[in-house]
């Protein structure tokens, strides 16, 4: 029986997403130099895991926009993270810069011709703003061109997608509560961060593959896909209703993470009724 429920959720999720236009933007702003190096490899490994996950929940390749590192897939990657072997094509459209980010969201706005869904995952360094009196002041690093952006920039780009009736943002960066605060007045958006204003993000060594992954992104994908092969005692379905809501993802991540304290910005208090299988607002 426990195996049946995730399958039902997954089937429901795919069919529901298929009924409405759904897009994903995946951003990983550090250029990986080697395999299996904690603090480095996660920026490619977890990007690929995200790509696999958004495909699993029914978003098609044409609707997945990836901005990574220097704009070139990490070709030396292990086969389990090699985009050509996994997907038959490269996935990165270019490096994350202000220009490419603005362009991607603008393109999605044009492509989304009826109400739909937008999923955004962001992984980068998050740096405190020196000298600020705001204990949450931080910026997201765009390594490719030495740029840094605030959460408000990300919010403004996402707001360009005018027909997205539902937007979910996952930010995996140190001190990233400072990013999601920018979404406190954003309608139809729930934003989750990997870390509070005073905690860094960190990695864990996933027991199945023994490789480094960001702990937040790892638990987030685990919760959404419902795959607990490596952690048979775990479940993100905390209330046992057979579904995993955004608030459960946040609570589950908080429960499982060792080093960081994930946060949620939920201005319309919809996270308990929002399911990544989209049986809620996407119905």
């Amino acid at each position: 029986m426990p195996m049946i429920i995730p399958c039902l959720i997954h089937s429901l999720l795919v069919s529901l997403i298929a009924s409405k236009p759904a897009f994903a933007v995946l951003v990983s702003a550090h250029n990986v130099i080697q395999n299996d190096q904690a603090g480095d490899s996660e920026f490619w490994y977890d990007l690929v895991e995200q790509y696999k996950m958004v495909r699993e929940i029914g978003i098609t390749d044409d609707n997945i926009f990836v901005l990574y590192g220097d704009g070139n897939d990490f070709e030396l990657s292990r086969s389990e993270f090699n985009s050509m072997k996994l997907f038959g094509h490269k996935i990165s459209l270019g490096p994350p810069t202000r220009a490419t980010l603005a362009d991607v969201f603008s393109r999605i706005d044009k492509l989304m011709t009826r109400p739909g869904y937008l999923y955004v995952w962001w992984m980068s360094h998050g740096d405190p703003v020196g000298g600020s009196t705001d204990p949450c002041a931080m910026v997201l690093s765009l390594e490719y061109d030495d740029d840094r952006i605030e959460g408000s920039s990300l919010r403004d780009w996402m707001s360009e997608v005018t027909l997205a009736e539902r937007k979910d943002l996952f930010v995996d960066a140190c001190y990233s509560e400072g990013v999601i605060r920018a979404f406190k007045n954003s309608t139809g958006t729930t934003a989750l961060s990997s870390a509070s204003c005073d905690t860094t993000s960190s990695n864990l060594y996933q027991p199945c593959d023994g490789l480094p992954h960001s702990e937040f992104s790892f638990w987030q994908t685990t919760a959404i896909l419902g795959d607990y092969t490596c952690w048979p005692q775990a479940s993100a379905d905390l209330n046992g209703d057979g579904r995993v809501s955004l608030s459960e993802i946040q609570a589950f991540a908080r429960l499982m993470m060792k080093y960081s304290i994930p946060q949620i910005m939920d201005p319309q208090a919809t996270s308990e009724k929002t399911f990544l299988d989209h049986s809620g607002p996407m119905r």
Binding site: I33, Q37, G39, D127, S141, A173, T200, S214
Partner: protein, 272 residues
């Protein structure tokens, strides 16, 4: 020509072979110049300096020196041991530190520089008496005070620190006069050691219990993007307790439980 290319040519060792050298499981086996020389052809005789003539082992917390003289920081006893490590290892003297959590040691030609992970300060220590001369703050602005100071290096003009703090781990260049921060770089690993010389920074990166530590070289450029793009992995090290890193101008060393270990030989690449 990169450092690594020169290194391989100098050693008569192909790049892939060099990686194998460093990956060789036998590297984890302790001591013996013959073993070290066989596995690491760039490391000459005397390139493993066993400590057990005086002490059975240390808790590695850093090393500095010039390849002949070594100062070794034992995190457990909070002592610095001074060795002459030529063909026959000679114990010189030891210093008992009065620091809370000593971590990382460097030598600026006059005094020892020792980091204190608890107070987050760098202490100038008299190399003979062990007395504190002065101290400066060890700033690492990429973390909000949660980082742990892991190592210290002196490049001839500036102090460099390695700070471990999850994805906020950093390398920091510090003005020796007052501790002013000159620049910070994302480490993109969990650093356990660093050494800086001639515009190049080598780092020793801890990688969990199941994966070997790694060694990485970056060329310091004005822009961080250029610096990060220059990053090159040099190899792996099956020595999970290794800490500290030293490039003496010819050889790259780390400190293991049983003594300083030569990792590679080569010459510093042209910093331009």
């Amino acid at each position: 020509m990169s450092f690594f290319q020169r290194l391989n040519l100098a050693n008569g060792c192909l790049g892939a072979l060099f990686s194998i050298c460093l990956f060789a499981p036998a590297l984890a086996q302790p001591r013996g110049d013959d073993v070290a020389r066989k596995l690491l052809p760039g490391c000459p005789k005397g390139s493993f300096v066993p400590l057990d003539q005086v002490f059975p082992q240390v808790q590695p917390a850093g090393l500095t020196g010039d390849g002949v003289d070594f100062w070794i920081l034992d995190g457990s006893s909070k002592r610095i041991y001074h060795y002459n490590g030529g063909v026959n290892t000679i114990f010189r003297n030891e210093i008992q530190l009065s620091l809370a959590e000593p971590s990382g040691v460097a030598f600026d030609g006059k005094a020892l520089l020792v980091g204190d992970a608890l107070t987050k300060r760098l202490y100038y220590i008299d190399a003979i008496t062990g007395g504190k001369i002065r101290s400066i703050p060890s700033l690492s602005p990429l973390d909000r005070n949660s980082g742990v100071l892991k190592d210290v290096s002196w490049d001839g003009k500036s102090i460099w620190t390695a700070v471990a703090s999850g994805f906020a781990s950093s390398f920091n260049q510090i003005d020796p006069k007052d501790g002013r921060l000159i620049r910070s770089l994302h480490a993109n690993c969990n650093p356990r050691g660093l050494t800086v010389r001639a515009g190049q920074l080598w780092s020793l990166c801890y990688n969990g219990e199941r994966l070997p530590d790694t060694i990485k070289l970056i060329r310091l450029a004005d822009r961080e993007s250029e610096t990060q793009r220059s990053a090159r992995p040099l190899g792996s090290l099956e020595s999970p307790q290794a800490a500290g890193l030293l490039f003496d101008g010819r050889l790259l060393w780390t400190l293991e439980v049983s003594g300083p270990r030569c990792l590679a030989a080569g010459e510093a690449a042209d910093p331009k």
